[in-house]
């Protein structure tokens, strides 16, 4: 994005030469115009981050200001508490495990669903395209709180989802109160070689168990509310594609599916990358729905690092630990936005195949 500034420089210097008298006035005005934004961002983004950084290496307990005399520097103790063992470690481990499954399952599903919606809406000869687009996008407009309230009702024991399940002769779970892990398939205890070892105070058996039934309902909600937004991104990309390439492939005898896989999909790669990145960033920040619906329960299976950071600080008054979790989360988000960049990087052999298919 820094290229934007570079390209404007010649124009700027040209203008300076033309009216030198205005230059000084412009400089003052420039700073005056940007001052409100700089002050607000500095005061409520930059300084807070520095203060939280300090709190994460201090023993502040929430009494008085974090900068007052009674607060001591404790080095990396708060960060060590996240990995050293004990309750803090297992809570952090559970939160990481919960959110990791959330990311691993929600990101691909929402990407595929939004791409599918865009492809369907974009099909030739479809009328009332705008109405469908609006219907799929509407959940994205509403607040997470309002959707969560609705979700609690739909997924309650006597709710709409279980009613639909009962039409098919099944019996739905008590969704938001069911802590059983979906990949344990009803088993209450695992083999010894999985339950004996573990990481961050969570056994391998639990790491591999997948999300709980309660968390699955949360994940369904995330997919429901985000697929509309991402559909719009795919739709914009699809409408920007030149039909010529597709027609050339068709003339060459490529079938519909081949054209889609070898011609359309590779051209959508930048959009897939954007959607996966935005999706990942969003999925690691799950907070509003946990605060509204479950507060981490049942049995901590909907605990996320974001919510744990909040509850450790504001609930248990462990401000250092809460701030440390926030910074670890920040680091995780940066890490996870780099992963799709690496996975979706341009690869030579594939490019060759595309050329073969289209030429």
């Amino acid at each position: 994005m820094s290229t934007g500034t570079v390209t404007t420089t010649p124009a700027v210097s040209a203008r300076r030469r033309h009216h030198g008298g205005i230059r000084k006035r412009d400089a003052t005005a420039g700073w005056l115009f940007t001052a409100p934004v700089i002050i607000i961002l500095g005061l409520f983004l930059f300084i807070p981050v520095l203060m939280a950084l300090w709190v994460s290496v201090s023993d502040w307990t929430g009494r008085g200001g974090p900068l007052s005399g009674g607060v001591n520097f404790v080095g990396l103790d708060n960060y060590k508490a996240l990995v050293a063992g004990g309750l803090t470690t297992s809570d952090f481990g559970i939160a990481l495990k919960n959110n990791l499954w959330y990311v691993v399952l929600v990101v691909p599903l929402q990407t595929i669903l939004s791409l599918l919606l865009a492809l369907l809406v974009n099909r030739e000869g479809i009328k009332a395209r705008g109405a469908f687009r609006t219907a799929y996008y509407f959940p994205s407009v509403t607040s997470t709180v309002a959707i969560t309230v609705l979700w609690l009702f739909l997924f309650s024991t006597t709710g709409a989802i279980n009613k639909v399940i009962s039409f098919f002769g099944g019996r739905g779970p008590n969704w938001f109160n069911d802590p059983s892990a979906i990949f344990h398939f009803g088993a209450t205890t695992g083999p010894a070689w999985l339950t004996s070892g573990g990481a961050l105070g969570v056994t391998w058996w639990d790491w591999l168990g997948g999300p709980s039934v309660a968390m699955s309902a949360m994940m369904a909600m995330a997919i429901f509310t985000t697929s509309g937004t991402f559909m719009l991104l795919f739709l914009a990309a699809l409408q920007n594609l030149s039909p010529d390439v597709d027609e050339a492939a068709e003339v060459d005898g490529a079938t519909g599916l081949q054209r889609w896989w070898y011609v359309t999909l590779p051209q959508l790669r930048p959009t897939v990358f954007t959607v996966v990145t935005l999706g990942t960033i969003g999925c690691w920040q799950v907070f509003d729905q946990i605060y509204t619906a479950t507060q981490g329960g049942p049995a901590k299976t909907t605990l996320t690092p974001a919510y744990l950071s909040y509850s450790a600080s504001f609930g248990s008054q462990q401000w250092g630990v809460g701030a440390a979790i926030a910074f670890v989360l920040f680091f995780i988000i940066i890490l996870f936005t780099l992963v799709p960049r690496w996975l979706l990087r341009e690869r030579k052999p594939r490019q060759f195949r595309i050329r073969k298919a289209t030429s």
């Binding site: 203008r15 005005a29 934004v37 607000i40 709180v145 509003d288």
Partner: protein, 299 residues
């Protein structure tokens, strides 16, 4: 969330017309299957909201017994009655309106001022300011919950409207939108006024800003939705019940802090009513929202 279906119908007129390619034959069956899937999915996306609206006027027992029914049996105004006369809901609504209006006005003014300076006014340090904005946009919001509380508290703004409003005025993304827009306006427009000796603010206020209506509308939509739906900041910036906005109030209502039993009609009524303002804004500006959200990837 006011029964979306009738409002949706005029959208058909806005459909982007794409010329059908000659020589390309689609089988009627494939189109039929596409329609079936599209309509089925649309039902999945819209039906929950219909259930939400109808359950507002159901009794607790009816909501539990017939969760899928779109006909209340019997009709009951008890939930709405309780919400408006026996709860803090009106206070929450008032607070949300105050905060949203203040944040939106503030963002429109500050974002366009800064965007104009970054696009047009050459000043030393401009690229540093720009780089700073990029860095700020990369920080995820959830990470800032504790930090924001610390500063709001330190500045003595805890439990005040200023603490709820001013931190939300920090909006780097909006500055970018305005900057990009101002860069797309030909410079010759303001050049004449500047040579005539008009000051930078005068040029900005009476010449450039009136031309920027599309970008300003985008900022209004984004900050309206953003501040109306914000939750995290309101949790950490105040704990006085009289300063609770809708998101926080309804979240606490949902988690059962204020009520015994499930009481779904009351909760769903609160959720539906708090959605009406964003839904209205969405349907008024829907073409612009749908295009702007989709166009973001093109840059």
């Amino acid at each position: 969330m006011t029964t979306p279906t009738p409002v949706v119908t005029p959208v058909a007129a806005l459909v982007v017309r794409r010329h059908s390619r000659p020589g390309l034959r689609r089988s009627g069956l494939a189109t039929l299957v596409t329609y079936v899937v599209l309509v089925g999915l649309a039902l999945v996306y819209i039906f929950p909201f219909l259930i939400n609206v109808v359950t507002m006027v159901k009794t607790d027992a009816d909501a539990a017994a017939n969760p899928l029914s779109l006909v209340p049996d019997p009709w009951s105004w008890a939930a709405l009655h309780r919400l408006f006369l026996n709860s803090d809901f009106p206070t929450w609504f008032k607070n949300s309106i105050i905060i949203t209006v203040a944040v939106t006005l503030g963002r429109v003014f500050f974002d366009s001022l800064a965007g104009y300076a970054l696009a047009r006014l050459p000043f030393r340090g401009r690229s540093v300011v720009f780089a700073g904005l990029v860095a700020v946009m990369a920080v995820p919001g959830v990470v800032l919950l504790i930090p924001k509380f610390l500063v709001v508290n330190q500045l003595g703004m805890f439990n005040s409207y200023s603490g709820l409003i001013i931190p939300l005025l920090a909006d780097a993304a909006g500055v970018f939108i305005m900057k990009n827009f101002f860069e797309s306006i030909p410079e010759s427009v303001e050049e004449a006024a500047r040579i005539d000796g008009a000051g930078a603010f005068r040029v900005f206020w009476s010449i450039v800003l009136p031309m920027a209506t599309p970008a300003v509308v985008t900022i209004i939509i984004l900050s309206f939705q953003g501040s109306w739906n914000e939750l995290g900041h309101f949790i950490v910036a105040a704990n006085d019940p009289s300063l609770t906005p809708l998101t926080k109030g309804v979240a606490q209502l949902a988690s059962g802090a204020l009520s015994a039993g499930s009481q779904y009609p009351v909760k769903l009524a609160a959720g539906a009513l708090m959605t009406i303002p964003v839904a209205v804004v969405f349907f008024i500006f829907q073409r612009r929202i749908l295009n702007a959200a989709g166009g973001a990837v093109k840059e």
